[in-house]
């Protein structure tokens, strides 16, 4: 009953004219951003934050979510037509999608990707609708130790599981924490790391850092090796699929959707890992695994379903616990804090129209994306033909205006420029950026929870290990941190090089 009443409230919010315009804008912009190589969902969201800041919180988050799952759809277009993944979660789609395109089957690959994305995306929103309220209710019992443990879990997972080097992930996370400490001490109010600067008293804003690292960093990455985009032509008639295509894709979509949703909920995992797992699972189950990579439609359907399903999953910890598990949801958390909204269990009771309006908009957005990505693919392809020589400076200016528009601060613009350089260099050198931004977003809250917990326990650290929920979470954190050591002891290599 709650399910229906919550959704009716949500749809009454989502169906207002402004929100319908915003969700349409979000999914279109998201598809374009997802399609452009070099700009993923995090960069796209970061660039658009200032635009969202001019709206009311519900419309702003509807826009952000539309861009988020729109990106997942958009990444497919370049993967299939150019063999260039629009973003990292579309890498697996290149393998069979581009092979299908070379056989003259680009249209069916794009159609099945759109259908798979729609089915799995909708499934994940249904799961979000069903699971979010009980999780939020359970989270009402959480105290500072549980919150600190959860934030530590999100941070250690994203640092330890993303990127190619754990040390790089942890280094970035610690620097993010240090940045979060600039300004006034959140409990006592004493200035820290301000070096006498008035601007630093307010701390380093999340917005200039995120826009600089993700947005400007992506722009610099675009122009250091200007891509000559060669796109295969496709028309609406080419998009038709056969009954056999549907039969071959049904179960891969179901499996991809389930894998994507579960992985999406887990902190640190995200859409990219979901697609790798879904593709690997499909190949393992298949009777003809040797044909994967040669244009198997299941190799397109499953990862595409997985990356879309992960978006709904990723929204669960963000909305119910206020803990983002990825760079993209960290940016969303940052946007919510700009509006003085605190995601977490109380969000569902204090701002039901916001939460359910947002969730309802995700149903609408998925339907829109299905139509857009089948009927308007040629239009999105046309956008890809805008030369990067024009697009790159335009995006850079969008970053500048965007950051300026929030605080009207020239200092923020210099911070953005500095972090643009940092974003570019770290990206080149394989330092993951999400841990830094996540630590910056969570740092203040994390310090408050830590110090409150230790105040409650009179500085006894065992408080984190004596309460059942925080103890369980801390155990997971320890496993994640010690995994390289545990892995070496538990799975000793045998003489022929295979691991036991």
């Amino acid at each position: 009953m709650d399910f229906i009443s919550n959704l009716s409230l949500g749809f009454s919010v989502a169906f207002t004219p402004i929100n319908m315009v915003v969700v349409t804008l979000g999914v279109i912009v998201g598809t374009v951003i997802g399609a452009l190589p070099g700009i993923g969902p995090v960069a796209g969201l970061s660039i658009l934050i200032p635009l969202a800041f001019g709206m009311n919180p519900t419309s702003a988050m509807i826009l952000m979510c539309g861009v988020y799952y729109g990106c997942m759809y958009g990444g497919t277009i370049t993967s299939v037509l150019m063999n260039v993944p629009g973003e990292s979660s579309s890498i697996m789609t290149c393998l069979d999608g581009y092979a299908m395109a070379r056989k003259g089957r680009a249209g069916p690959a794009l159609t099945i990707a759109a259908i798979g994305s729609f089915v799995a995306g909708t499934f994940s929103v249904v799961m979000l609708t069903l699971l979010a309220p009980p999780i939020a209710e359970a989270a009402l019992r959480f105290g500072p130790p549980e919150y600190f443990a959860l934030m530590l879990l999100g941070l250690s997972a994203i640092s330890g599981l993303t990127g190619t080097s754990r040390a790089k992930g942890y280094a970035m996370a610690f620097v993010g924490l240090a940045l979060a400490m600039i300004g006034l001490d959140p409990i006592g109010g004493a200035p820290r790391y301000t070096f006498g600067s008035l601007e630093l008293m307010d701390g380093i804003g999340f917005l200039p850092v995120a826009v600089g690292m993700f947005g400007l960093g992506a722009v610099l990455g675009m122009i250091d090796q200007l891509l000559e985009i060669q796109v295969m032509k496709t028309s609406l008639r080419d998009m038709l699929i056969t009954k056999q295509d549907i039969r071959d894709s049904t179960m891969p979509i179901v499996r991809g959707g389930i894998i994507g949703f579960v992985v999406g909920v887990l902190p640190g995992a995200g859409a990219t890992i979901a697609t790798f797992l879904a593709y690997a699972a499909e190949k393992r189950i298949s009777r003809t695994p040797e044909l994967f990579g040669t244009g198997m439609i299941a190799g397109v359907a499953s990862p595409e379903a997985a990356n879309n399903a992960s978006t709904g999953g990723a929204m669960i910890p963000l909305l119910t616990l206020g803990i983002p598990g990825s760079g993209t949801t960290a940016v969303m958390l940052g946007v919510l804090t700009l509006f003085s909204l605190q995601p977490g269990p109380l969000l569902f009771s204090k701002n039901p129209d916001f939460v359910w309006g947002l969730i309802a908009s995700m149903y609408i957005g998925n339907v829109m994306l299905l139509v857009l990505n089948i009927a308007f693919v040629p239009a999105f392809v046309a956008v890809l033909r805008v030369p990067y020589k024009v697009l790159a400076p335009l995006i850079a200016i969008f970053c500048v205006v965007g950051v300026y528009s929030v605080n009207y601060s020239m200092f923020d613009l210099w911070v953005m420029l500095g972090f643009g350089v940092v974003g570019y260099l770290t990206n080149k050198m394989g330092y993951p950026q999400a841990p830094l931004v996540l630590a910056l977003v969570l740092g203040g809250q994390m310090e408050v929870s830590l110090r409150q917990s230790l105040k409650m326990s009179e500085a006894d650290l065992s408080t984190f290990f004596t309460r059942p929920i925080s103890a369980t979470i801390m155990a997971v954190v320890i496993v994640i941190i010690l995994w390289p050591v545990l892995n070496r002891f538990l799975f000793k290599p045998v003489s022929n090089g295979r691991r036991t």
């Binding site: 200032p50 635009l51 001019g54 190619t164 080097s165 040390a167 790089k168 942890y170 280094a171 996370a173 610690f174 620097v175 924490l177 240090a178 400490m181 001490d185 006592g188 004493a190 820290r192 790391y193 400007l216 722009v219 610099l220 122009i223 250091d224 090796q225 200007l226 030369p387 990067y388 020589k389 024009v390 790159a392 400076p393 335009l394 850079a396 200016i397 969008f398 500048v400 205006v401 300026y404 528009s405 009207y408 020239m410 613009l413 210099w414 420029l417 643009g420 350089v421 570019y424 080149k428 050198m429 394989g430 330092y431 310090e447 830590l450 110090r451 230790l454 105040k455 009179e458 500085a459």
Partner: protein, 154 residues
């Protein structure tokens, strides 16, 4: 030795030391509970520790599977430098010249510098971009963008 990785690790260690020096100036405990210096101190240890691990890996790259860094060629560096330089100059001029003039100049310089030679594009893209963004932010979203020398237009 991988010079870029080693240099990056040194930067992390230096940041860690800076964080540490400031952390020890704040009280670690206040009335028996963690004070403003508590988390900064542990964070500085984390940065220094991670930096040292990265330094060892940079100095002895045989310890890890090496991935080549795809640095751009000279022309790529020039384009990156052009973008950053043009952005820095634009930030300096933004309040003086105003949004419309600065952004038109920025776009013209960067689009030309990136290799666009079509006169029609060079004439239309900078102005259209500046006016388009002005309409979105200043007119639609009512952001008070700097007017600079065009302030007399109201």
């Amino acid at each position: 030795m991988n010079k870029a990785e080693t240099a990056a690790s040194c930067v992390f260690v230096a940041i860690g030391v800076l964080v540490l020096l400031e952390a020890i100036r704040s009280p670690y405990f206040v009335e028996g509970v963690p004070g403003p210096g508590f988390l900064p101190l542990w964070t500085s240890f984390g940065i220094i520790g991670a930096g040292l691990v990265l330094a060892v890996k940079g100095i002895r790259p045989r310890l890890v599977a090496r991935e080549e860094i795809a640095w751009p060629e000279a022309a790529g560096w020039r384009r990156v430098g052009l973008m950053l330089g043009a952005l820095a100059v634009s930030l300096l001029l933004l309040e003086l010249l105003g949004f419309l003039v600065t952004i038109t100049l920025f776009m013209a310089v960067v689009v030309f510098g990136l290799g666009v030679r079509s006169k029609r594009m060079l004439a239309s893209v900078p102005l259209a971009s500046a006016v388009g963004l002005y309409v979105i932010f200043a007119v639609w979203l009512r952001v008070p963008l700097p007017k600079g020398i065009l302030a007399f237009l109201g």
